[in-house]
Amino acid sequence: MQITRTIDQRLYPGEAISEARHEYRNFCTLSISPLGSDQVEVVITVKPKHKARGREVVLEFLNYLLDRAAEIHLEAE
């Protein structure tokens, strides 16, 4: 399973993306390319071993990313 998302780095800081990528390294791979100011295109590819749970892997990854982004934003307040 492969999903492409446009991620706004004002919402999801690079630090959150890096941490989420590291945390989910056994479940999926990320390909990140810049899309102009503050935006990156992220292609999430679920590893074949977890293909059957592809939806769960991608959405759990995005939730983890959101949790980290929220923590970073709220710590900065």
């Binding site: 399973m1 999903i3 998302r5 706004d8 919402l11 959405l59 995005l62 939730n63 959101l66 929220a70």
Partner: protein, 159 residues
């Protein structure tokens, strides 16, 4: 994609400001949040508490990216009504966090004064010799509450 801020939304088949779509990840409902009304911080606080029950994804929307689109997907299969209700509840949570922020701003002076007073009093009693409590009126062994040595049972306002 057309922009319909929630405040201007109507029942035009988009469920009063809520968009519903079905893609490779299944069904998703989404709402647009105007960042001139709600801060990013309020959006994150509300979103954070939804991640235990739903999958959420935030993205910028609109020409000047002034809106944040909140995309909500169920963790377990649910009816469409439940999913759209989750969006409405999310909007209520945003109002909740907005009001909290306003109340906090309005009462911050009182809170700071109370904290200053509480810690300030502590500063005056740094000398351990002054830390002892006044034990002069503590009942002795043979006394009981029935004797009411402090006349606590005396009705006030009756005189």
């Amino acid at each position: 994609m057309d922009e319909i801020p929630l405040s201007q939304a109507s029942d035009d088949g988009r469920l009063a400001g809520i968009d519903v779509e079905n893609d490779s990840l299944g069904e998703a409902a989404s709402v647009l949040v105007d960042t001139s009304v709600y801060t990013e911080s309020e959006v994150f606080k509300a979103a954070y508490w939804y991640t235990d029950r739903y999958y959420l994804f935030l993205s910028r929307d609109g020409g000047d990216r002034k809106y944040i689109r909140i995309e909500i997907r169920p963790k377990l299969p649910v009816e469409l009504d439940q999913l759209t209700n989750a969006c409405r509840e999310f909007c209520n949570a945003l109002i909740d966090y907005r009001v909290r922020r306003m109340v906090l701003a309005e009462t911050s002076n009182i809170r700071d004064t109370l904290l200053r007073k509480a810690f300030g009093e502590g500063y005056n009693h740094l000398d351990p010799a002054k830390l002892g409590s006044d034990e002069t009126r503590v009942p002795e062994g043979r006394q009981s509450f029935r004797e009411d040595a402090l006349d606590i049972g005396h009705p006030t306002g009756a005189d």
